[in-house]
C-alpha cells in the first residue's frame, strides 16, 4: 500500500530525515546536480540533473589504500548512512548498471549504506528516451506527485521504516513516464561500419563530456600518488574516459583505440551492445545526459534511428 504526504510537508519530512542521515538531493547551481543537502529549501526537483549522482558512489578520486615505507596501511571505509532523494527512474537504474560491474569494497559499502528515494519524472525533456531502455522498478521509496500530494510506493523494509509515521493512501497512484524521444532499434551490432557514424565522428571533439555526465560510465584508472620526501603515498582510483587517447595506451606507447571513430563508437556500442551481451541488460538508461552535455550536439540516438529507418527494418 502507498503512503501519502502533502506536498507542502515535503520539506519538513526531508528535514526530519536529515537528523539521522546525510541527505543527498538535486540542487541547482547554474546547472542542476546532486549535493549533500544543508537546507531542504535548496532542493530543486523540476528537471533532471545534468550532473549525475555517480560521484557519490564513484568519486573522481578515491583512495584505495595508503602506504608508508613500503608497507600498506589499510584504508578505513567510513560507513555514513545516507539517503538520496529525488532520483529519477533513469538515475535509479543507473545504479543497477554500476552494481553489475563495480565489485570493490568501497563501492559496495557505499551502496549498502544508501537508501534510494525516487521521484516520478513529470517533465521529461527533448533529450530523454528512458522508455526505450527497458528500465526496471528499483527503489526503497518512490514518490508520485498527484494534486497537492505525493503518493509514495514502498520498495523495501528500509524504505518502509522511513515513512511508517505517514498516512496510508486512499488510492494507488502510478504513472508511466512520457517520452518525446525514442531509440527505435537497439539491434545495431551489424551497423558498426555504417557510414552514418562518420557524420557524428566528424563533429566529435573527444572532450569526454558524454562519459563524464553519463550516470553509468564507470571507467577508471589506478594511480599512485607519492610524497617522495616522506616516502609515503596512496594508491588512488581516478575517473577516466574511453574518449581519451591515453585510455587504451600501453607501456611502449601503443594506443589500441586510436582513431576518433573507434573511440566514439566504443561509447555508443558499449551502452547499447557490448554491456548487453554480457548482462542481457542495456548499459544506457536513456537519461539523455550525453546528448545534453555535448558541445557539438551529437545525437547518436537519431543516428541509430536514421540508420535503421533507411534500411526499413524497424522493429
Amino acid at each position: 500500500m502507498q503512503k501519502i504526504i502533502e506536498k507542502k510537508e515535503l520539506n519538513n519530512f526531508v528535514k526530519s530525515l536529515m537528523k539521522n542521515y546525510e541527505v543527498i538531493a538535486p540542487v541547482k547551481r547554474k546547472i542542476a546536480r546532486f549535493e549533500i543537502l544543508k537546507n531542504p529549501e535548496d532542493m530543486y526537483l523540476d528537471e533532471i540533473t545534468l550532473v549525475p549522482l555517480k560521484q557519490f558512489f564513484l568519486p573522481e578520486n578515491e583512495t584505495l589504500f595508503d602506504f608508508k615505507n613500503n608497507k600498506i596501511k589499510k584504508n578505513k571505509t567510513e560507513g555514513r548512512k545516507r539517503i538520496v532523494f529525488g532520483l529519477r527512474k533513469c538515475d535509479l537504474n543507473a545504479l543497477l548498471v554500476l552494481d553489475r560491474v563495480m565489485s570493490y569494497p568501497e563501492y559496495i559499502k557505499k551502496r549498502q549504506n544508501t537508501i534510494l528515494v525516487g521521484l516520478y519524472c513529470e517533465k521529461p525533456d527533448e533529450f530523454c528516451f528512458c522508455n526505450s531502455m527497458e528500465l526496471e522498478e528499483h527503489y526503497d521509496l518512490f514518490f508520485y506527485a498527484s494534486g497537492d500530494k505525493y503518493y509514495i510506493s514502498i520498495g523495501s523494509k528500509k524504505g518502509a521504516l522511513l515513512v511508517r509515521n505517514l498516512d496510508n493512501a486512499d488510492k494507488e497512484v502510478k504513472k508511466e513516464i512520457k517520452n518525446f524521444k525514442k531509440l527505435e532499434n537497439k539491434n545495431i551490432e551489424k551497423d558498426y561500419s555504417n557510414k552514418k557514424w562518420d557524420e557524428d565522428v566528424e563533429k566529435c571533439l573527444s572532450c569526454s563530456a558524454c562519459t563524464v555526465f553519463c550516470p553509468t560510465c564507470n571507467c577508471f584508472d589506478i594511480q599512485d600518488v607519492k610524497e617522495l620526501s616522506e616516502n609515503s603515498g596512496k594508491r588512488i582510483k581516478t575517473q577516466s574516459s574511453c574518449q581519451l587517447k591515453s585510455f587504451s595506451e600501453v607501456a611502449g606507447g601503443k594506443i589500441f583505440r586510436e582513431s576518433r571513430a573507434s573511440r566514439f563508437k566504443h561509447f555508443v556500442y558499449h551502452k547499447i551492445v557490448f554491456y548487453n551481451k554480457r548482462f542481457n541488460k542495456y548499459m544506457c538508461v536513456g537519461c539523455g545526459r550525453c546528448l545534453r552535455a555535448c558541445p557539438t550536439r551529437i545525437d547518436w540516438v537519431e543516428t541509430i534511428n536514421s540508420i535503421k529507418s533507411k534500411k526499413g527494418d524497424k522493429k
Binding site: 584505495l64 589504500f65 600498506i72 570493490y104 569494497p105 584508472d221 599512485d224 589500441f256 571513430a261 573507434s262
Partner: protein, 265 residues
C-alpha cells in the same frame, strides 16, 4: 574484490638482455599458464605480467624495461619486496588444447606465457601430441630464457629465429612468420598458440590458415592496458570482451572481427 596487493619477495634476478631481466618472486598465487597477475611497486604503480614458469612456489617474471613500473623493478635486487595480486583472467583452455598437436610461436617477451605452457606440457607430456615451438628474437643479444631453450631443444621440435644474425648457422634468420611459412606443419588435430606483437600474430595466423588450421584452433594472447583486472575499469575492453576476465588468451575466431572493428580508422 579488493585492489589491495600483498607483499612478495624477490628470490633471484637474472639478466637476459640489455632491457630484459627475469625476477623469481616467491608467491602463492599460482597462476595457470596464460593467466596474469598485477605486480606493483608502491608509489609507482601496477603492471600486468605473466609468469613464464608453471609451479606452485614462485612466479618467474620476465620484465622488459618499458614503463615506469618495469623501470623501477629493473633496479631491484634479491631480497627486495614487490607487491602482487592475482591470478587473473583465463589462460590456455586445456579442455580445448589437450590431446592436440601444438604449434607454439612467440616473440620477444611474448614468450613468457608460452614458456609457462611449455612447462605445463613438460609436466603432462602424455596429454599432448606433437609439439612444434618457434621463438623469435631481434638478435643474439636478445635471446631470452636461453638456458631453458637449450633444454627444450632436446625435448621438442624447437626453432630459434633471429631477425638479424651474421654468425654461423646456429639459428634460423628472418622474421618468425616467414620462418613459420617454411615449416612443414601437419594441420590435422593441430592448434596454434601465438603470443607477440599483433602484426606478428596476424601473419603467423595467415600461415596456419594456409595449411588448413582454422581460426577456431588458433589462440592469441592479447596485450591491453589492464588496470583493475576485475572487469570494472573498462580499459582492456576489446569491444564487449574484457582482456582481464575473458582473456588474455582468446580463440582467434572470437576476437578477429572485434579487433578489426577497433583498429578501423
Amino acid at each position: 574484490m579488493t585492489y589491495e596487493p600483498s607483499e612478495a619477495k624477490i628470490i633471484s634476478v637474472k639478466k637476459y638482455a640489455e632491457d630484459v631481466k627475469l625476477f623469481k618472486v616467491k608467491t602463492k598465487i599460482n597462476p595457470l599458464p596464460g593467466q596474469f597477475f598485477q605486480l606493483s611497486i608502491l608509489g609507482i604503480g601496477e603492471c600486468p605480467l605473466a609468469s613464464c614458469s608453471y609451479n606452485k612456489k614462485y612466479a618467474d617474471v620476465l620484465v622488459k624495461n618499458s614503463g615506469s613500473v618495469t623501470n623501477t623493478l629493473f633496479n631491484l635486487k634479491k631480497g627486495d619486496g614487490v607487491f602482487i595480486r592475482g591470478p587473473y583472467g583465463r589462460g590456455y583452455n586445456f579442455k580445448e588444447i589437450e590431446g592436440k598437436n601444438l604449434v607454439l610461436a612467440a616473440g620477444g617477451t611474448g614468450i613468457a606465457p608460452v614458456a609457462s605452457l611449455i612447462d605445463y606440457i613438460e609436466q603432462n607430456r602424455k596429454n599432448f601430441g606433437e609439439i612444434k615451438i618457434l621463438f623469435g628474437f631481434k638478435d643474439e643479444s636478445f635471446i631470452l630464457l636461453g638456458d631453458r631453450i637449450e633444454r627444450w631443444k632436446k625435448k621438442f621440435d624447437f626453432t630459434l629465429c633471429l631477425d638479424k644474425y651474421a654468425g654461423k648457422l646456429k639459428y634460423e634468420v628472418g622474421l618468425l612468420p616467414d620462418i613459420l611459412k617454411k615449416k612443414k606443419i601437419n594441420s590435422e588435430n593441430t592448434c596454434g598458440v601465438l603470443c607477440g606483437p599483433e602484426i606478428m600474430m596476424k601473419s603467423a595466423t595467415a600461415k596456419l590458415n594456409s595449411v588448413g588450421i582454422k581460426n577456431d584452433k588458433i589462440y592469441w594472447n592479447m596485450e591491453r592496458r589492464m588496470e583493475c583486472a576485475a572487469g570494472s575499469c573498462g580499459r582492456c575492453l576489446i569491444q564487449d570482451l574484457y582482456t582481464c576476465k575473458d582473456g588474455p588468451v582468446f580463440r582467434y575466431d572470437i576476437i578477429k572481427e572485434k579487433l578489426e572493428n577497433e583498429s578501423a580508422k
